[in-house]
């Protein structure tokens, strides 16, 4: 009927004519406009708020009169008094169409609202979580039609929300009857549907309309740290982020030593599994407390992790991952009950999604980076490096993506470095060495001041300098090279050769003194020849992995480099390139993706379609196994040196002004490549 009022929704632009008296929510649903509702139009959830526009809308060819919608009604008045409606807002289920009208759906009323992932990125996460709330009115029990309460609840969800094939476990069924009666047969259920074609599972039920929210955890389970983001599953907002140390460290610093622990100690894998699960419960409790929510409102958890952590989380002995052919027990994604992982802190029916692993050494964390950084959608050839104890490396563009992992070891995290420590207050995280005086200046975590700034001593003091962390040691080695304190092979020169008293004799080698706090009882922080060797091993492994993918792809350069990982965020691209950690690209083509694995976990938490997407993508990634590729060894050995390079880096040319020294008089400068490498 062309004489019916015209309704135009913004921002979608969807339009149609509706009979006078049609509720706005009904019109929106018929047009497929994204307008939320938990209560199904009963005027109690307030999710369907809309903003009608009045006046002339020449763009839409509509003039909207003041009486285009039905009058403000008692339901809206009650809601406004109780909770408050923003000026100009109406409830879409109450306001009825009386004339031509333009209706704006504000972002917070959209189901598929988009959440900006982070300020620096244009990418957004579209909200489409696996678990959503539904308010339903259930028929009361009737002796003459003796179906069970659960069967009537299912019937209500089918008739009121068109949701079929609904299941509930015994713990839910055991609370169903009292909740239904407390809510006078009106209840809100949290329904989880992990797959489009799978049954929907009732995770929780509340009497009446539940307004306490619904939350999920995105967890990046690393070898060293466990980081979690508590996310509002309705808005996508991160309510709190928190991290703890992985308690498995006491069984072994790196992954290989944990696999060894399991091999050597019967039941050792069970100990490690119990340790990490305990820590996860602690983390969930703490993060919920921090956000001020009940941890039982956490109904979903997404995990990303490397293969060894993957198996240890799941309770699978990782022993096969310690030896060729590095077979995973399972590589596909997993959808589990949280109770299967003994995650008792969260909702007892909470669901867990674990991203797929790519290969025996390339885990769900790498898959998460691929989900976040989308190399398969890149126009130019991107090298993505997630730097940690084990480096995950992705190389690709729209045509093809390759992945491998490389056993860098923990040096990049400050471990196995003489003055090394984890990134924590007091750690030297940045360092500059004057190319003329060879004097260092540095910054420690916890202060923005450089050590030669006014007030540094007051703010930090000798006692506040405790060691040197991963980014600090990388900068230190690169700066030493640029200041002419190291030669190509990585050998540290003597005091005589380098002309600085900061060179200390250390057996047959030399160490560079960064800071001497001994006068006030603090540490003496030096960079030793051993430290240089450890960094050389780590950077060679990283570089060799990247080169191997480039070989496989048949290229000898990449268009851009993305440094991912919490640590990646702090690496100076300039110093990384001086060291030769990554292939040469223009400096402005090196970006940091922050904790890309964690972001990938958040995407999978907020958008169920993204789970299918990464499962599909992982199947298409070409896996390259570094451990069996002879060329990896070649690249590794070849990458050991720290060559003096100024081209094609004008930035470097400005800084690196000294001649290229050579201290290789002891003949022990290039043994690194033949040292036994450790996988971790």
């Amino acid at each position: 009927m062309s004489t019916d009022p015209l309704v135009v929704f913004t921002p979608s632009g969807k339009r149609g004519r509706f009979a006078i008296g049609t509720p706005v929510l009904t019109a929106a649903r018929q047009l497929g406009v994204d307008l939320d509702s938990v209560c199904g139009g009963r005027g109690i959830c307030s999710k369907c708020q809309i903003s009608p526009g009045y006046g002339e809308f020449s763009k839409h060819g509509v003039t909207v009169h003041q009486d285009a919608l039905s009058d403000w009604n008692a339901v809206e008045e009650r809601y406004d008094q109780k909770r408050g409606l923003k000026p100009g807002r109406r409830l879409g289920c109450q306001a009825k169409i009386m004339g031509d009208v333009v209706i704006d759906v504000p972002p917070e009323s959209q189901v598929h609202k988009q959440v900006v992932r982070k300020a620096a990125s244009a990418r957004v996460i579209e909200m489409d979580p696996a678990t959503r709330l539904y308010f339903v009115e259930v028929e009361e029990a009737d002796m003459h039609e003796p179906t069970g309460d659960f069967e009537r609840l299912k019937r209500a969800l089918k008739s009121q929300w068109e949701i079929d094939d609904i299941r509930a476990d015994l713990s839910l069924l055991s609370k169903l009857q009292p909740v239904l009666r407390k809510g006078k047969f009106q209840v809100t259920v949290a329904l989880h549907r992990g797959h489009a074609d799978a049954a929907a599972q009732i995770l929780e039920i509340w009497p009446g309309l539940h307004e306490g929210g619904l939350f999920g955890l995105a967890i990046d389970l690393g070898s060293t740290t466990v980081a979690a983001h508590l996310t509002d599953l309705e808005t996508g907002e991160v309510k709190a982020s928190s991290g703890i140390m992985n308690p498995q460290i006491r069984f072994g610093e790196d992954l290989m030593s944990r696999v060894s622990y399991s091999m050597m100690n019967p039941g050792g894998d069970k100990e490690m599994t119990a340790a990490v699960r305990d820590a996860l419960n602690l983390l969930a409790e703490e993060i919920a407390k921090e956000a001020g929510i009940d941890a039982k409102l956490i109904v979903e958890t997404v995990f990303v992790c490397n293969p060894v952590m993957h198996h240890l989380l799941l309770g699978i002995d990782p022993v096969e991952l310690g030896q060729a052919p590095f077979a995973l027990a399972t590589s596909g994604s997993l959808t589990l009950g949280a109770k299967e992982l003994d995650l008792t802190a969260v909702n007892p029916r909470a669901q867990v999604y674990v991203l797929p692993c790519i290969a025996g050494h390339v885990g769900a964390d790498c898959a998460a980076v691929a989900l976040s950084e989308e190399p398969g959608k890149s126009e130019d050839l991107a090298l993505i490096v997630d730097v940690g104890t084990n480096a995950e490396i992705l190389l690709g563009d729209k045509t093809r993506v390759l992945a491998c992992s490389s056993p860098t070891g923990p040096a990049f995290e400050g471990a196995q470095i003489s003055s090394g420590q984890r990134a924590a207050p007091g750690a030297i995280e940045a360092i500059r060495i004057d190319p003329v005086t060879k004097e260092p200046r540095f910054r420690v975590i916890g202060s923005d001041k450089w050590s030669d700034d006014d007030g540094f001593t007051e703010e930090v003091g000798d006692g506040g300098i405790t060691g040197i962390c991963g980014s600090g040691i990388i900068e230190a080695v690169a700066e030493m090279r640029m200041a002419g304190l190291l030669d190509d092979s990585g050998l540290i020169g003597s005091a005589a050769a380098t002309g600085t008293a900061r060179m200390i004799e250390d057996g047959r080698t030399h160490s560079y003194l960064v800071h001497d706090g001994s006068a006030t009882g603090g540490p003496v922080i030096t960079v030793t020849q051993g430290d240089i060797r450890a960094i050389q091993l780590a950077k060679s492994a990283l570089y060799a992995g990247a080169r191997l993918l480039m070989d496989e792809r048949g290229v000898d350069k990449v268009d851009r480099v993305v440094l991912a990982g919490a640590f990646g965020a702090h690496i100076s691209p300039l110093h990384a390139m001086v060291l030769g950690m990554i292939p040469d690209v223009p400096l402005d083509k090196v970006t940091s993706a922050g904790n890309a694995a964690g972001t990938g976990a958040r995407i999978a938490l907020c958008n169920v379609a993204a789970r299918r997407e990464i499962e599909r993508v992982v199947g298409q990634i070409t896996k390259v196994e570094t451990a069996i590729e002879p060329k990896f060894q070649e690249h590794f050995v070849a990458a050991n040196a720290i060559p003096h390079k100024t081209d094609p880096f004008p930035e470097l040319a400005k800084i690196v002004t000294l001649p290229n020294p050579s201290f290789n008089t002891h003949g022990d400068g290039s043994d690194g490549g033949r040292r036994k490498r450790r996988r971790g």
Copy 2:
């Protein structure tokens, strides 16, 4: 090609022509002949044994020569030496078709073998269990194709058995890798598929070919006793049957008192749930021990039970079942993990199927009776009565089936009877009273001799007579009526009125002395006026339930009566009819179905299609609620008397020769109907 050899399979009669060299198993599969194989034709499982026939088969128009099959081969020789093949048997996967042949598939080689349910019945159970064994060869792990072991197992099941959509829980995944390697990547899996369209779940995995069998438990969980049948899921054979007392008896003898216990004691339902689950674990362990199998080979369990036991098993507070409208938390069938019910004695991944409930008082046990007795397929109108503490009653034929439950109370099980006891050795189970001398003779459980037989004293002795059980008290009351010791109203006559010194004064009433063991320290067993009243209450409730269904159906007689329940098997139809427990039908139209609920459980255990069938049937049964039907009360009161009847029972006319007495001089003979009834 019409010149290919003709192959005829018996008993199916399926026939076809196959190229020379085709294995018999392949031919059978192509023709859809039911020939089993677990190993998929690898000559190791021996399930595909066949018997070729030789000579002239005029019926089939085939002459079979001695060279119709390929020669006995090394695989068959090895199998024969190791395990032994019956004479004339070949392995269908090894024997190849060389000429026209007639091949018999012996019953034990059929997948859908039929198991005769019991000797007395023509009905059979077709084997089609939800869980079956599959032998597979899995590709070995390969570094260049780094999928997980589980993914390769799934691929093997898809390519070798055409089974898709396979899942496994973490406990299975955690044992997958060692088992695969122990079996050199050849394994047997037990796959469960509860629904045709549901994912198949791997319940167990064994290295190589598993030959230890696969078992299931059919459990009839009654208020008083728990009975289990351990069944071979490959053959359908019942390996052992066992029963234990329901430990919930300590919380209340009947169901209503257990519901009350839960109402009065916070957490009382949890106590009762834990008690019954503990007992089930004990029962599973004992029955496995009795059958000489590992209880971890029990991979399926089917439960039938009344609604209160149903809820208490599942961990659901039964409080709503104690008050109108008697709402079930869930009425549908349930497929669960055994661990959800804390059934730790069986396989950790064992699956549980619980039959659907019909209504708040008509449980899964009644559904099981309907599955076993199939009233909906009956040509004549059948009344099926499952006698227990609560009677489940079904009335129906092909056109319509009705069901109700009736609160008979525990008198029929010997409880609340002065000398009553449960059916156990020493209990009087049958009794006859001489109509002339009024002297009793009886039989006790544990002996086939009557008390006046030679050798009874030697075999049983005074000490061996301990009380009177349900069937004994029913016979005693009926015999007393037939001997003229009771009048119509149920009043016991005095010694003077009845002319026997066995009548003892008991306050204002009289008791009949059945047995006096006091001289040797044994019990004095009498039937008191209170016992008569208790039996009158129980039989009135039973009869009133049946009448209510007959009213609803619009009939005043039924064509036949089936007495079900373990107790039903021991009731004498004659005595039941004298008492008026059941409507009058010719005596030869009263049959016993034995433990029909248990049989229904076994059917659901052995045949997955039967589960869908009973789910469908339950939806079509008309439920009648006795508790709210005023006519139930009327029928109950009217059924209290024990009228003297000889017609239409010529059998009774022969026995009941005495005149119909009347002792109703105290005016207290018909108070039963107004006593408060108990639901249980």
